[in-house]
Amino acid sequence: MTSSSLLHRCSRFVVRALLMSALQISGLSSAYAQAAEPPAVAAATEPAAAAAVMAPAATAPEGKPQPRLDTGNTAWMLTSSALVLLMTLPGVALFYGGMVRKKNVLSMCAQIFVCGVLVTVTWTLLGYSLAFRPGSGFIGGLDRLLLSGLTPDGLAGTDGANIPESVFWMFQLTFAIITTALIPGAMAERMKFSALCWFAVLWSIFVYAPIAHWVWEPGGWLATMGALDFAGGTVVHVNAGVAGLVCALVMGRRRGFGREPMSPHNLVLTMIGAGLLWVGWFGFNAGSAVAANATAGMAMLVTQIATAFAALAWMCVEWMVRGRPSALGIVSGAVAGLVAITPASGFVSPMAAVFIGAVSGVVCYLGATTLKRRFGYDDSLDVFGIHGIGGAVGAFLTGVFGVSDPTMIGAQVLTQMAAIGAAALYSAVATFLLLVIINSMTGLRVDEEAEREGLDRLEHGEHIE
């Protein structure tokens, strides 16, 4: 298919989508009018391990008390949604922006920002429906296409949480945004902005949404199998890390990689970004309880502990190996701990968090240094080394520490490994195919002049002094 015909089809799709959304405005208007009536209620659902969207009020069985919106849970989830968005904008943007060379910092930040923009569009059009609506075990239904049927009185969340579906939608959107926004770090300083835009759109629909459905929608095949992933070790970090590695391999190395130093331009920005990530991660992990309850409290506690121990472990290893601890190493260790505790945060004890944090600090240090040098790939900002490996370590150890019955540890570990493998395999293959498609449309990589001059000037017409 030529790029012009593809663009033509896309424009037709967008026009059709806009027409459909215009038709829905009248329906939504009446829904908002109804919201002025007494508080809306929704029917209780079957207990679900993962966050599920509840049935509308009209389907509540007779004689069963109708659930009412929980204002405490809703307040916490509103806060969590803002915290997770803060992780990307500006958290990841600053974290990544400080690590690239000065000539590419605006380009890096622009790529992260546009991921937030484009994933919001795809999540509105069909991403949410594909990820979180009941369908098959592999993909969700289309009943929330263009947000049709999402009304102010619809409730969602785990059983008993009773938060508005709009808040649930927003919370899950911020996860889709940050997962997509992690990947540009692997192909930093050499990807065309236009290619990145296409990648963010297609990847969020064809890779993120299906894997989120497998793990987090109660009918997803990995959820049915019993895979544990409280806040996204597999869905977010293994997925983004593996996709990042594939992108780095397909794009090839930056010019001069391995021959000339590629010094980070401002590690203070990276420190600020890492701080925002740490704070925002409380929304990410504690928010994944989808309620303001004891699970959320424990998730917050173990997140703090694991992060500190991972930073300490990375720092100690680097100090021993290189004779001094680097600032970038300490913040990288903290991010490794945040990543690794993510899938386990709702299931494990504080002592398990100590272990998970310490192990992830050491393993991710090796992933970002030894492993990268050994194989010579140019994963620019170590997306695979930290997110891919840290996510896999966390998901694996969730199987060890996340079950209450010791006799079940072996089976749970096998389930976790299957989930990690399935997500990694799908992410790798689908990401590769998307890159091939985008390459045929726009090309993936900037030319030599742009790479030497810097993407800020030649891709965006801007620069910083």
Binding site: M99, R101, K102, K103, G256, F257, G258, R259, E260, P261, M262, S263, P264, C316, W319, M320, R322, G323, R324, S326, L328, G329, S332, Y365, A368, T369, K372, R373, G376, S380, L381, D382, G385, E449, R452, E453, G454, R457
Partner: protein
């Protein structure tokens, strides 16, 4: 002398501006290794009216030490503390630590 990445950045920008203003193509790699060739290109560049090009030429002269090396700063005696106690300072790594790796 400045890091390679800084020098290559300047060379790249000079390359682009030379092409725009004089339609003249420069060999960036050869400029990096041959000071005489670089001086000649800079002489031509200084003949243009582009102030941006002039500024870049001045920066490149300093970065590549085309007018002789800068005086060395006095070396301070420093100590670092490893887990094993006091150590001699490790060898200066400079930007070389970022060759082929970030962390």
């Amino acid at each position: 002398m400045d890091s390679d990445s800084h020098i290559y950045g300047l060379l790249g920008r000079i390359h682009v501006l030379m092409r725009r203003t004089l339609n003249r193509i420069t060999d960036v790699e050869y400029m990096r290794i041959n000071a005489d060739y670089t001086r000649e290109i800079l002489r031509i560049a200084m003949g243009t009216e582009s102030t941006e090009l002039h500024e870049l030429c001045a920066k490149l002269r300093v970065a590549m030490e085309l007018d002789g090396p800068a005086p060395a700063a006095p070396k301070e005696k420093t100590f670092t503390f490893g887990l094993g106690g006091r150590k001699d300072p490790p060898p200066e790594e400079g930007d070389e630590r970022y060759i082929g790796t970030l962390r």
